[in-house]
Symmetry: C2
Subunit: 142 residues, 2 copies
């Protein structure tokens, strides 16, 4: 399944690429390159940091992953590639996915009726900055 995804993206299938793609798909925390390296290192001590970086960049270029820019400055990677937003918790540092179909439709409709000139919009996402009231519990928007 991971192998298929890599092939479909037109990339060569290597053991390193399979391990890395598999790892990031099992995480839902928007890991950094280092997070991924640490996660795979015990079982794959031979895979280098440089390979992790190169592979992630390759995946972003191929559309298998998205990059998420953070307040802290280092890049994070996101296995979800649909048009979803992110909730940045100011106090806990968490980045939580946010998706709402209705809101997506509203925003899409809004831009469709606007006169947009000289650009082709490829994707629109929402960035929500928020304070987590109780850091121990999870949040919800329904």
């Amino acid at each position: 399944m991971v192998r298929q995804k890599i092939m479909n993206a037109g990339l060569r299938v290597t053991p390193q690429r399979m391990v890395i793609l598999d790892a990031i798909q099992g995480m839902n925390n928007h890991p950094t390159a280092d997070d991924i390296y640490l996660a795979i290192h015990p079982a794959n001590p031979g895979i280098s940091m440089a390979t992790v970086y190169k592979t992630l960049e390759t995946y972003v270029d191929s559309g298998l992953l998205q990059k998420v820019y953070t307040r802290e400055g280092q890049m994070r990677y996101d296995p979800r590639i649909d048009n979803h937003g992110h909730i940045y918790c100011t106090n806990t540092g968490e980045i939580i996915d946010f998706y709402d179909d209705e809101l997506n439709k509203i925003i899409t409709a809004f831009f469709r009726k606007k006169k947009v000139s000289n650009i082709r919009i490829s994707n629109i996402s929402l960035q929500i900055n928020a304070l987590k009231t109780d850091p121990g519990k999870s949040i919800s928007i329904k």
Copy 2:
């Protein structure tokens, strides 16, 4: 006027702070720390890079500036602190401000009617990824 803003933020007024705040307010390109350093350097060769970084960070903490996270990884600073969005031009690398009052109202209304639990939303902004059709010309959304 710059002096007043610094005082109102509860900060000590120093020549360096005045120069830096004045410089960034005259730019509307979301400058990096380096951009600001280069802009002020000719007239103020004594102001160090470290001071530029410390001062910008102080301003962000005090709410005088916003940080903008970029695809390229380095931080940019934005003198606009209202709830505005950014258009990231994939091909030119530009970051253009986007503000629409109607859209702001739509999004605010949307979240007001939602059940939001365990967070207090402080600010919501839109990130628009787009391709500039003609890199020479400017873009518009009306």
